[in-house]
Symmetry: C2
Subunit: 333 residues, 2 copies
Amino acid sequence: MKKIINDPAAVVTEALYGMAQAHPELRVQHTDPAYIVRADAPIPDRVAIVSGGGSGHEPLHGGFVGPGMLTAACPGPVFTSPTPDQVQAAVAAAHGGAGVLLLVKNYTGDVLNFETAAELIEAEGIDVRTVVIDDDVAVRDSLFTAGRRGVAGTLLVEKIVGAAAEAGADLDTCERLARKVVDSVRSMGLALAPCTVPHSGEPSFVLAEDEIEIGIGIHGEPGRERTRIAPAQDLVRTLLTPVLEDLPFTAGDRVLLFTNSMGGTPLIELYLAHGSAVALLNERGFLVERSLVGPYVTSLEMQGISLTLLRLDDELAELWDAPVSTPALRWGR
Amino acid sequence: MKKIINDPAAVVTEALYGMAQAHPELRVQHTDPAYIVRADAPIPDRVAIVSGGGSGHEPLHGGFVGPGMLTAACPGPVFTSPTPDQVQAAVAAAHGGAGVLLLVKNYTGDVLNFETAAELIEAEGIDVRTVVIDDDVAVRDSLFTAGRRGVAGTLLVEKIVGAAAEAGADLDTCERLARKVVDSVRSMGLALAPCTVPHSGEPSFVLAEDEIEIGIGIHGEPGRERTRIAPAQDLVRTLLTPVLEDLPFTAGDRVLLFTNSMGGTPLIELYLAHGSAVALLNERGFLVERSLVGPYVTSLEMQGISLTLLRLDDELAELWDAPVSTPALRWGR
């Protein structure tokens, strides 16, 4: 295993230390219980939006903490849920008196730990709600999940709900919006090459020279099938077809297309795939009104991409466009 | 070779098409002569800042086109200089009447083609200056270069000069600032794993299971030595020591530290390396006043990092902090 690390057991702590040095606009608690919170939190009378999950998916979630997106995030060990203690500590730092919305990717460990955390937080008299994200159309009931997995669509939930909270929306509204995005977003991914979790030291799976895995999860969980590498336009069709059929999206829909790298796939291939996906969507009568392209919801150095489609309306488009200022996502005024 | 592409010969064109779809705030000419220009260019009486080079280093340079940074960029084939025609076309789209500054990484092909372009542009009666960037302390007179190579420091030149041009600085000032940054910035990188250029289909070099290349260039050119993988803090010291000695930087200096991924190294390792570099610099009495961490000057999917150090003064810090709004770098109002 070749990685730029010191001790495999210290990777997350040391990476968080580096993140603290790079981003003085955040407060990063790099030792246990680790969390990342906006430096200006708690913000009185503003709903706190808190997420988290295993590390190794950077910039998700810590890179999305800041004005217009998450109030706080809790990074667990690599590919392992944060503890209820971490969530509680993050909420303590984030809560401004207007309640807390927990955004949780649908993995059994995460759901369980955030549930326990929610009970502890509620016992403190804080109004807390939980929305579970399960946008991956590839598989049901996979290795780490009952139901569908939460993957790259998580970013869209965090951005849109974060914008609403920033504008002063109350907890009911934030919860409603999170559920609306979850109901309107679908994703699917593929992998060309695996990643290696530092404490295991072994690749998460093995693919032959010309083999790819369709429907991969963000921890290297098996997908739908192994096939041979094909031209980009075929790969894009393979991903988009089940995404479109699932919701279903229908011709004429306004959509946001998010082309995501699993980590090790370079931007030149991402833009190429994005162009191919836009062309296919245009052909089928969809209106691609917003785009996002980049390595945002990753699996360490895994090579591959995922495509995420969100059905837009005026409300969601306006919240998507609202200013955001985080390490990884930043625009607006 | 597993890549998300169609035809190896069409990779750049198709990626530029995707970039055009993703970024309506840019005008992307994706067919020959390819260039990327701010949609609001030419801007009357504003100096045009134009750069370019081989593709495969994304987001460099096209991802840095926008208010506060480059006016235009010309992407050549992968790892191959753009033609003089491309540079001329980009300048024609970018020039607002106040002259043009060409920012060129020091590779023989780039220097030659930009020189030819400058002659053609000058013949049209446009005031054009060229500044060559050569921040890599690893080697002199390497595979593609006479003198030192231009690497990740290029981003800092583009950002700082772009901010000055945006604020209305004249061509003399922009040229002076570019030279000042070039004189104050030094970089060095290492690779853990190679990349594969699409039209070659073969990795650019081969490393053993536990081997790394110190002093690598951004095209996979050989560096100073091959050694065995070591703890991150040792790797960081190996990169920073020659960087510090070269300028030389001296204790008490205010610096900007830029920790860059060569493409395939994940953010968690980058932040870890950044933290380690900040700790080392603090120990030696430097003041790390600004940080940048991310995959900004890459070599396709190559795994590795580079560290870039810029000596700051008030003028450079202020221009660094100025608002920028490009696909890859964006902050401020």
